[in-house]
């Protein structure tokens, strides 16, 4: 197996709560379902949640820390997903050992994962401090997640600056929690506003979807069971685009049909 072709992708946002971990979980499952051997590395060991979203919280015994200190083998620390055996989770550490890992450690563990997997998805912690820099050290490319809100876009911009200075590329954007109705009423930043401001190519566009909360309640990512919800489609399409498939992006303004939507579109045409 060729470790050189493994893709090490950082999933980051700067701001917390915009959907990094949800994207990591759904993308991991979607890639695994498409046949790619995928590892998800939870680099947020202070406040780790990826296990919970994947429904694997009761099965963690070891972390990357034990692997690096050679108290266990990598295979023992990897938590394989029952329904989707192509997917494995590795927590970087546990909250009780806050200052243990270094950027070197993260690189080492990522390289070890690279020998067994096609994709290594690294779920970065929020913020731009040590934890984020650790996570960034293990990555070659990045997906920046943001929502169409001023604070999230501003924080994303800081993160993009750091990724650029470390030579991480390509950097692609996932715009999360889009509300088509608010965009139509011009009460939410338009998709093009965000992509213009951040100057990143758009890898995915995820509509606000209540099913995301339902799926986190159950610990079953939306992409797991072929759920037909809009967010499930969006996450699956992100995975397909990552694999090089040419999947057109949805147009939020076309998501709404009927007379009200038509009037909405008329209202936003420029008249002078």
């Amino acid at each position: 197996m060729a470790a050189a072709s493994t893709r090490y992708i950082l999933i980051c946002s700067g701001k917390g709560g915009v959907g990094k971990t949800t994207l990591t979980a759904n993308l991991g499952i979607a890639l695994a379902k498409q046949g790619a051997r995928t590892a998800v590395l939870d680099a947020d060991f202070g406040l780790r949640n990826l296990d919970l979203l994947l429904g694997l919280e009761n099965r963690i015994v070891y972390t990357a820390q034990e692997v690096l200190s050679e108290s266990c083998r990598l295979e023992q620390a990897l938590v394989k997903h029952k329904q989707e055996p192509n997917l494995a989770l590795l927590p970087a550490g546990n909250p009780r050992m806050l200052e243990w890992l270094t950027p070197d450690d993260m690189q080492k563990i990522a390289a070890m994962l690279g020998e067994h997997f096609d994709y290594v998805l690294i779920d970065a912690p929020a913020g731009i401090e040590g934890g984020f820099k650790n996570a960034m050290a293990a990555a070659r490319e990045a997906i920046v997640v943001t929502t169409p809100e001023v604070s999230a876009v501003r924080d994303a911009d800081r993160v993009i600056g750091l990724l650029n200075s470390e030579g991480v590329k390509p950097i692609q954007l996932v715009l999360n929690r889009v509300r088509p109705k608010m965009m139509a009423n011009q009460e939410m930043l338009a998709v093009s506003d965000v992509t213009d401001i951040l100057a990143l190519p758009l890898l995915g566009l995820v509509l606000e979807d209540e099913q995301v909360i339902v799926s986190t309640n159950r610990g079953e990512p939306l992409t797991l069971n072929g759920n037909g919800s809009p967010a499930a489609h969006a996450y699956t399409n992100v995975a397909r685009r990552l694999q090089g498939e040419d999947v057109p992006l949805i147009d939020p303004s076309k998501e709404r049909q009927g007379l009200r939507a038509k009037i909405g579109r008329l209202m936003q045409t420029k008249i002078f």
Partner: protein, 102 residues
């Protein structure tokens, strides 16, 4: 201006907020990226206006020096309407030195 903006204006309602968000973001990002705080920018603006007004008479009310960002490149943009040139023009060296010395 869109049809919605016109209707909002006629009804005395606040304009839609997306555009405000975009403008505020562009401004704050220009500052974030250049590491120039508003105070320094204000000072630079004053000094630029001072220097330019030594050579030409400018409309200070209409004049504007701002940071603008496009494709992650930040530019300092000065838009200074000129009323007329000042004659005779002072020698550049002399006036610059005067400023540095003061």
């Amino acid at each position: 201006m869109t049809l919605r903006d016109v209707i909002n204006k006629l009804l005395g309602r606040q304009p839609a907020s997306a555009n405000t968000a975009k403008e505020r973001l562009q401004l704050v990002l220009a500052h974030d990226r250049s590491d120039l705080n508003p105070e320094l920018l204000q000072q630079m603006r004053r000094e630029i206006l001072e220097v330019v007004s030594r050579y030409v008479e400018i409309d200070i009310e209409e004049g504007d020096v701002t940071l603008e960002t496009e494709d992650r490149v930040t530019a300092l943009v000065a838009n200074l309407p000129i009323r007329r040139a000042k004659l005779p023009a002072p020698s550049p060296e002399a006036s610059l030195e005067a400023k540095v010395g003061s």
